[in-house]
């Protein structure tokens, strides 16, 4: 049963590749978070945009080390390493609260994190 979610704020994310590299480097069982660059395209505000979309190949709960660290410290290496502090891990029950303050197009990627 999933208890937590990983949330990536795509407005903050600038595609440094840090989370991707972090995942790849933890050799236990690579979580394989993919990173694809989309755009540029026009937004509702009329500005050109590039977004970095994260997509799961498998789920983000495969890495034994991350789970162990999360149990111990409440965080994971990719959350710490992200230069833009765009990643956070929330309790599943807190997700509706977060979403309530957001509008469509705000750019959040949400991944179940068991």
């Amino acid at each position: 049963m999933a208890t937590h979610v990983m949330v990536i704020d795509l407005w903050r994310c600038l595609g440094s590749g840090s989370c991707y590299a972090t995942c790849q480097s933890l050799k236990n069982n690579p979580p394989k978070i993919g990173l694809i660059k989309v755009g540029p395209y026009e937004t509702s505000k009329g500005k050109a945009m590039i977004r970095f979309l994260h997509y799961p190949i498998g789920s983000c709960n495969e890495c034994a080390y991350c789970m162990e660290m999360f149990q111990r410290e409440g965080t994971t290496p990719c959350v710490i390493n992200c230069p833009q502090k765009a990643i956070s891990i929330l309790k599943l029950e807190d997700l509706p609260k977060l979403l309530a303050g957001k509008k469509s197009g705000d750019g959040l990627y949400i991944q179940i994190f068991k």
Binding site: W11, R12, L14, G15, S16, G17, S18, C19, Y20, A21, T22, Q24, S25, L26, K27, N28, L35, G39, P40, K47, A48, M49, I50, F52, Y65, M69, P77, I80, N81, C82, P83, Q84, K85
Partner: protein, 670 residues
Amino acid sequence: MIAHVRNGKIVALYGDSQHPLNKGALCAKGSSALQFEYDGDRILYPLIRVGERGEGKWRRVSWEEALDYVAKRLKEIERKYGPESIACHTGCECEESVYLDRRFWDAAGWPNFFNGWGLCYASQCVAQIYTFGSPLMEHTDTSDYWDKTKLFIIWDAKIPEGQPAYIGAVPRRILDGAKCIVIDPQLTPIATRADVWVPIRPNTDLAFALAMINTIINEELYDKKFVEKWTVGFDKLKEHVQKYTPEWAEKITDVPAETIKEVARMYATNKPAYICYGWCCHHTQYFQFARAYCTLMAITGNVEIYGGHMLSRVRSPVIDDGTLTFDSRLGLHNMRKIPEVAKQFPVLYEPFKTFTALAHGLMSLLRQGKIKALFVDAMNMPYRTPTYDKYIRAIDNVDFIVVFDVYMSEVAKYADVVLPSKTFLERDCPSLNLWHKHGILYMRQKTLDPPGECKSNIELFTLLAKKMGLDNRFPWKDEEELFNWLLEPAGVKFENLKNEGYVQVQERYPEKLYEKKGFATPSKKIEIYCSILEQMGADPLPTWHEELLIKPDEKYPYILSSYTPVRQHSWSLWKAVRDLEEILEQDHAYIPEEIAKEKGIKTGDSVLIETKHGTARYKAVVRKYMHPKTILVSRGNFEQAKIIDVHEPIDPVTSFIAERGITCNIRRYS
């Protein structure tokens, strides 16, 4: 960085959220450090070549035998060909390697010492010194002061995408309300969050900057009090830039005159403002451009104020205010011999006198067969510079090659002796210079025992110095003794630093230090009009040279430029990290829709890009938001090496390779 070690093996590496500088943030390169440690083809033992060059046949030897052989051959070559025939090319000359390569070359009396700065930052650093007397504090070192910055200009720089760990503060400030202008041929991620994106034609940044100066002066937007009291040559500048109107610049830069004026007004009226210039000086007029952006900073008074630009005064060759810098502790400001090749480019060499940042110079000497012994310290030049085939052909002229590296690099395969190096995780790495570390001394502790018989460069040069009879300049019995000697002026012991991780020994730099000390120039003021450059026969004011603009023609109708990949650029040493290669997307060529349509190219097509130097194959990525006549390829890879040459074109002032803004043609490849 925190390493979790179990049974002698690192199982995880991640940022240290308690770290005073990066707050835990790591770039993709730092995040790949585990792969760097474990994935590559490590050199484990000293090796002497037994087959033909490049054949890969080696004999494992002891360090004793290897260093005896190296010392014997270097002495023979020096006797036969003289001290200029022995060159060092180092890729890791930094405080963590304690600059011992340079000290060794100086001790031996060999002037030909080359480091990675010839491919990096030196060209603009000297322009800053001629203008301010000291180089500007680097972006990574001023991020603490950006809380006050009202406007950023990100100018041909992959910032913060390029160095996200330290300067991720830029987008955070922008989200908090700071204004942002991005001047770049392509729409970068940060440009999508900017107020203005200027898709400039590559290699015309100087024209843009001169037109900004013209606007700021003619609209009287400059800081009159500051200019009057703290600058030299403003009247001459005013007269000089009258011809550089925004309308004139429009024809060169492909940017509308109104946009240039808007950028100039925004820059001059939002103070403090900060110009994030790029690291790579690869234009034919980059030195002049750097002088121009320094002039912009000066006339708007954005110098030595928090949120604007701070100066690295302790790094100045003129002023050393007594702060601990271990360049001076090691005596690196007084190299005994000037290399002949440096005399051709005195503007580049004179300000520091201590290093030779001349990739062009090294290649010239190699091609002419003047280098008979080459010592390569963690520098895989064919990967780092656009010269692969040419470099390999050139080093065939060298009688004796020694490579000290972590991995069996392309150059190592051609060496006569290969020596195994420790990684940064296998040794204590001090970071001792205070000039850009916010007054913090810190130590990266050894995490692992090295595999095989790997040594640090401190161990290597201390041992080699004994063999060469130079041990009076390398008297330390071990690394701890050396570090304690270096740390002595700060009153810090190595053991304590190692245990603590870091020690704050100096406060923030004060603002407006010039009010107490003046600037470190001959006039004690900012030299907009630089008399030293005039004496050297160079332009005393930033000046546009039309003949240096490379113009498309029938054969090569498009502009080719390089960019540092969106993610942290990968130094040659990190080539072993294959996942990082994947992230860097180095096989991509970004092509504007206009050219793609003309040539029938679609995203995913294989394309051939041709320049006067050769042809290279890329995967096409068609993009909408780019300068319409420019094709962009990633810098620092083997494909790019085929289409660019270190010798032509260059910036004639500094000899820097101009790989941005050259001309090319493109076609589909099937």
